[in-house]
């Protein structure tokens, strides 16, 4: 019986399930506190915000899996949102596809700069991206000339992305943006589970030296992770533009913290080597549900948001270190005894991460 449970429930899944449980508890709690909480409006507000963060968090997860960080994502989102916004405001005729490609391309270039410096320049990622966080933002401010992109200058199709209903589930509408974000989470979850590229991200994060010795093109893979992260941030910038319309030079400032918070709360190991996209999505969902609910909850002011967020991250990391790692070791040990031949690379990677911490 115990073995059967152990076989189908790995520690990661327990973690994700407990996150789902926590989200449900949060929803029930605020449902009793806030009148008209279970409405289409609340649902839309939460899902459209989560959609943007989730896309950034997917990119961030790719990078964190390799034991690196990307702190510049907030600046990339802000830059692309502003740049694409200005282009569309100047020329409403740009086709949607061209606009999206422009955003993704711009993000990819910025991600490439990060990636080359980290992978080939051998500069620690935290330094590179702390630097580019400042550099990309400075470029944006200089480029903007203190002007603002306004909603009324943007084409209608763009604004519809965050407002029009794609299809409804009961009283809840699904916006095109939300569907897009979900699609991206699913695609990248499949990529990191089944593609060699994805598995190598785990391998590099678990033990960079071993991965290099084993013959993986470590540098190229890390760089690719950064380029993907940049591209996804660019896409998120496009979504940010669609969602808010009014873009100033401080757009998406601090989003890197939200994204990393989502990733960490979602159970992605900050030392690389373990974590899933579904987890990152759940992390984003958890944080934003809490944020959006707190804003409407009158008992405490919205100024509590950051303090609670900090606490949430700390609790998530601490549970990871204290409980989940112990569980993981237990699982790994019993797994080794029960079925030595069917070890998957993923289990080994997670096992190693467990020993590391």
């Amino acid at each position: 019986m115990m073995d059967a449970i152990k076989r189908y429930l790995r520690p990661e899944q327990i973690r994700e399930l407990s996150l789902v449980f926590l989200i449900i508890v949060t929803l029930i709690f605020f449902g009793t506190q806030i009148e008209g909480y279970y409405s289409g409006r609340t649902f839309n507000r939460i899902t459209t915000t989560v959609a943007i963060i989730a896309v950034v968090a997917v990119g961030e997860t790719l990078v964190i899996l390799t034991r690196n960080y990307d702190l510049s994502v907030g600046s990339i989102v802000g830059f692309t949102a502003y740049f694409v916004g200005t282009q569309l405001a100047n020329n409403n005729g740009i086709s949607p596809l061209a606009a999206v490609l422009m955003a993704i391309g711009l993000g990819a270039v910025m991600g490439l700069i990060n990636g080359v410096l980290v992978a080939y320049g051998r500069v620690p990622s935290i330094i590179v991206t702390l630097g580019t966080l400042a550099i990309y933002r400075a470029l944006l401010v200089n480029y903007s000339g203190a002007k603002t992109v306004t909603t009324d200058s943007l084409p209608q199709w763009l604004l519809d992305l965050a407002r029009v209903n794609l299809f409804s589930v009961g009283a809840f509408d699904i916006r095109p943006m939300v569907a897009l974000a979900l699609l991206i989470v699913v695609i990248f979850q499949l990529v990191i589970t089944y593609l060699p590229f994805g598995r190598r991200l785990y391998a590099i994060g678990s033990n960079p030296e071993a991965a290099r010795v084993a013959g993986f093109p470590t540098q190229r893979i890390v760089m690719t992770a950064y380029v993907l992260c940049g591209s996804l941030s660019g896409l998120a910038g496009f979504m940010f533009l669609a969602r808010f319309g009014n873009i100033t030079v401080v757009a998406a400032q601090g989003m890197e913290l939200s994204a990393i918070a989502a990733v960490v709360v979602g159970g992605v190991n900050v030392f690389g080597g373990s974590g899933t996209m579904i987890g990152a999505l759940l992390g984003a969902l958890m944080i934003n549900t809490l944020e959006q609910s707190l804003i409407r909850w009158l008992q405490i002011s919205e100024f509590w948001r950051d303090a609670l967020l900090g606490l949430l991250i700390l609790v998530a990391v601490a549970t990871d270190a204290v409980i989940i790692n112990r569980l993981r070791n237990l699982w790994a040990r019993s797994g080794l005894q029960a079925r030595p031949a069917t070890e998957t690379p993923g289990v080994q990677a997670q096992e190693e991460a467990g020993h590391d911490a």
């Binding site: 960080y69 410096l117 320049g121 051998r122 500069v123 620690p124 935290i126 330094i127 590179v128 702390l130 630097g131 580019t132 966080l133 400042a134 550099i135 933002r137 400075a138 470029l139 401010v141 200089n142 913290l257 990393i260 918070a261 960490v264 900050v270 030392f271 002011s301 100024f303 509590w304 948001r305 950051d306 303090a307 609670l308 967020l309 900090g310 606490l311 991250i313 700390l314 990391v317 601490a318 270190a321 204290v322 911490a357």
Partner: protein
Amino acid sequence: MMRNLERLKSWEGLLLAILVVVVVINVVQSPVYLSVENQVNLFQLFIERIIVALAMTFIIINGEIDLSVASVMGLASCLLAFLHEQGVPLPTAILVTLAVGVIVGAFNGFWISVVGLPSLAVTLAGLIGYRGVARILVEDRSIGNFPEWFNRLGQQPLLGPLPLASIIFFVLLVAAVIVLQYSAFGRYVFVIGNNREVARYSGVKVRQMKMTLFIASSTIATLAWLLLAARLGAVRGSTAEGFELDIITMVLLGGVSIFGGTGTLTGVGLSILLILNLRNGMSLVNITSNTQTGVIGVLLILSVLLPNWGQAVRNLRNRRRRVGQGQTAGE
């Protein structure tokens, strides 16, 4: 070891050379640059960050990082303002704030040294969380109206042209040099940064050391913030936001390795001077502070990239030499 020393020396030499160039350009560019007011002002504008950079040097050499310092500064300022607003006499409020600084440091230190969490994650949570607590305290108000003597302490010169903050900085600098370079404690900081396990097996109390360092870091950040409050005369929830970038840049540009184990205060001192003069010079020719931040970002990346390239070139040369020797030995 010798080579390491050489490398550091050359790094400091490089910093010094760049500093001289920047100073010369500044002198040529602007007649006010050399005035005493400008020189004092140059320090004053960054004095709080410089003070915190001293503590950060210890932490990074020790192989950890403290991203939360700017938020601790914000928290301290907001707590002081909050207590002041509630009618607590200022001296008491200052003491309470410093005590909270110690507690915050111990809180960070607990998670890092006792539970064993990565300092990056803990202080990232701190970066968000402490700022959040600061926001709870002052919300979106701006609190000022500190007593006259408090503001005077921050704004007026105390000794010659030097205000209190500069004096505190120099005292701390001397203390830091003595502790880091001439005491057992300082040696242990390096040993732990080089290899935590070896340090532990050699009987160094690693946990206790890390705890001490994080408490010191937060306390100094708190102190620095009190000085900033005195200088600005008013406090807001966003005070000191983003300072961590400046502080970490100062330390890393000074040649301290982000992986721990190497670095000198001389290097950090030079990099502080360099950054100050660069910013000051850019301000004098009306380059916006935003562009300045971008330039600092470039500097930060270059400060690690350039030594890496130097190392790569050296390695290549060494390998060639070794290969050459191997061949002669074989014959």
